[in-house]
Symmetry: C2
Subunit: 230 residues, 2 copies
């Protein structure tokens, strides 16, 4: 890995807490709608709409709010009250204002690495929301910039490398999703490191093990320091 | 302008039609809600919510859909029907799938310039939506990349220059909004060109003339070619 130039970090559940906030909101949404359907069936219906809406809405909280509204209308067969819709808008605005809680070892890691590499954030989601979170995190000074990606497939990573003007072997990606942060990066010839978070959105799960020369796995983010600063 | 390296183009109403689609959607929204309020008062209420929600939602169609829903609930004092909310979701999905109609001279201009400069798209709005539009426009091959910005203020342009690794005097921005595409770029020392579109969102208007050595004004995009390829 002597040729590395850019270290890219996923944001949500890699730098700071995210998925637990979505789970908390989903629980409130299911509570709101429990006269119509069980929590489990509601979650399934919401997930179905999220995935169906991905090509049109993309990732992020605004897409999630719109999918909650659509789900509420559909599972109630159009009988849900306007107060419920208003409450869903409110849940969405709450979710957009959650405090930023850094994960363990994050600041130590960025501090250690930022003089030796160009550090970037590579994340999906709403542009506005991700920039707000990074700003509120106080981590902005360590990063050259934040890259909000429409998706994290091979094509998107290739575009990212093109605009960074680097080759795959100069790129190292760190994140909590094997599906989004690791596999596509390995497939295009880059390096990738998995740092698991205790909870993962169903859409990000994969069903097989990864064996690859360019693949690393750590438990806490700061375990990457000795790998990158030998 | 001998030092120019990057020519940046606004997308909506500079490369392809946008604002007329929003106006068409707003007309349908006002028609849907005309039992509650006049078109004019509804438009005002919607604009108020859009501006209020900007810090939280940012720009783009998903923000617009959410603001329409909020407006419908508020102006009806919570008495609007669920069918109306469902219809608003549908209007939003329609708006996200409008055909891309290139403005006059766009392809000719990009073709002429792309061998001599790095061309980028610098636009606000939803990341997913803007990437979809650029893809569908068939213009992707001319651009080094697309830059979706959370806002178009001096701070955002300074960040853009930083990631492009260029100085302000190496940057030329072209767009239909004096407020977003021209003023902030001139203020940070770059070059800017105004190419007006026949209709402009109220939020983008300014109330004074611009006089500046680095400022250009043209009627059609292809009038920029002789300026940049002397």
């Amino acid at each position: 890995m002597k040729s590395l130039k850019v270290i890219a970090f996923d944001a949500d559940d890699t730098l700071f807490i995210n998925e637990p906030y979505f789970e908390e909101t989903e629980k409130k949404f299911c509570g709101l709608m429990e006269n119509y359907l069980s929590h489990q069936s509601l979650s399934q219906a919401l997930f179905k709409h999220q995935i169906e809406n991905l090509p049109l809405y993309g990732y992020g909280i605004k897409s999630y709010i719109l999918s909650m509204i659509q789900t509420a209308i559909e599972v109630s067969d159009g009988t849900v009250s306007i107060k419920h819709i208003d409450k869903i808008l409110e849940l969405g605005k709450e979710l957009l204002q959650k405090p930023i809680v850094l994960l363990e070892g994050v600041e130590q890691t960025l501090k250690a690495l930022h003089s030796n590499y160009k550090l970037v954030v590579a994340t999906k989601g709403d542009l506005k929301d991700q920039q707000r979170k990074l700003h509120d995190s106080g981590l902005g000074e360590y990063f050259h910039h934040i890259e909000v990606m429409a998706d994290k497939k091979e094509l998107n990573y290739n575009k990212l490398l093109k605009r960074l003007d680097i080759e795959p072997h100069e790129f190292f990606m760190i994140g909590n999703s094997l599906r989004s942060d690791v596999l596509p990066v390995l497939n295009i010839g880059g390096y990738a490191c998995h740092v698991p978070f205790h909870t993962t959105w169903a859409h990000e799960l994969i069903d097989h093990e990864i064996e690859h020369d360019n693949f690393y796995e750590i438990k806490k983010l700061n375990e990457i320091i000795p790998l990158l600063l030998p």
